[in-house]
Symmetry: C2
Subunit: 203 residues, 2 copies
């Protein structure tokens, strides 16, 4: 009963609808990751201790250490978990985009925005990784490198595509640090313009 519930929530974060989740045993593992991300989001990186994460996930410290034998492994697990979801969603979005020109750029913009709104855990993962060991960011960096390449070969002027990509990243930064984050309607306007610009050439 409970396992079904947890199963469902973990399934949402990794897979989009339609997939079958074969791994049913990982619910506590995912619970721990979510707890860790939550702590970072709500109280900052320095508040992320093994005990705190375990307690919030409803397991003992020993239980946590069973899945993640060190703090670094915990963060690594978090990063990989989030990265999988990010990568997967963008790929899906590209697949569903009918227009060929700028589809990678468009998908990137949309999914980045999506993550900001519905999944601030991404911030938590990035910050935790940066704090503990920047090497842990590698999966993200690799994924980005790929995306950047795809966007440059997307049928748009290279510089233009890069500017659009950076604008989406800027949206992220502004949320991350609370640096003049956009109002909802203003962000909507910006988003629409970015999407529009991803279909034509400008400047």
């Amino acid at each position: 009963m409970e396992s079904i519930c947890f199963h469902f929530t973990s399934y949402i974060s990794i897979l989009r609808k339609g997939e079958v989740d074969i791994v049913t045993k990982t619910n506590n593992r995912v619970n721990i990751l979510k707890a860790a991300a939550g702590i970072v989001r709500e109280q900052g990186i320095l508040a992320l201790t093994l005990e705190a994460a375990a307690s919030k996930a409803g397991v003992s410290k020993g239980g946590l250490l069973h899945y993640f034998p060190s703090k670094e492994k915990l963060i690594q697990g978090l990063v990989e978990h989030l990265n999988d979801s990010y990568v997967h969603n963008i790929r899906e979005s590209v697949k569903n985009d009918q227009i060929k020109t700028g589809r990678w750029t468009r998908s990137f913009i949309q999914e980045t925005n999506e993550q900001l709104i519905n999944n601030q855990e991404l911030n938590a993962g990035m910050l935790a990784a940066l704090a503990v060991n920047p090497e842990l960011l590698r999966p993200f960096q690799d994924a980005y490198q790929e995306w950047q390449k795809s966007m440059e070969e997307d049928g748009l002027n290279k510089v233009n595509a890069t500017i659009l990509r950076l604008a989406a990243d800027g949206l992220w930064l502004s949320e991350l640090f609370g640096l003049a984050p956009l109002e909802d309607d203003e962000r909507q306007n910006v988003l629409e313009k970015l999407i529009k610009l991803s279909k034509e050439d400008f400047g």
Copy 2:
């Protein structure tokens, strides 16, 4: 007398290399801030201890605590120091820009890029603040709010100006996390285009 000293040392961090360091007896307060930023940059936030910062700055722990009575005050000092410089430089840049249209946007883009290249201490300060207490980011957030307002009243289309601003921020994010950071020449191209776009309307 003392105020002059502070004035000068704060200038050291504002002026770029090539200037003469008149103040031979450098202010220890500023030394400590630089040391703290350096540690965060090189070894991450978790390596920032009072002892480490003191030692790197060449003072004792007691000496550090004389200037900054707590770790939080230390980070606060760091943030304020960096923010002062940032604000000052943008204001100067605006003053020196002959073209009226988009001068705030242009200055923002250029100075943000400048900070990224020559003063990665900014990253250190932001991350440290976020780690210790997000409230410490307030000065930056306030400054950004002001800039955003200025950019929106800069003679450009509001959405366009915001996109340019976000692109500059994206440049920052990409460096911060190493997410497909641009090659030097590519960044130059992007920068030039952003500057160009800040003089006309596009899209």
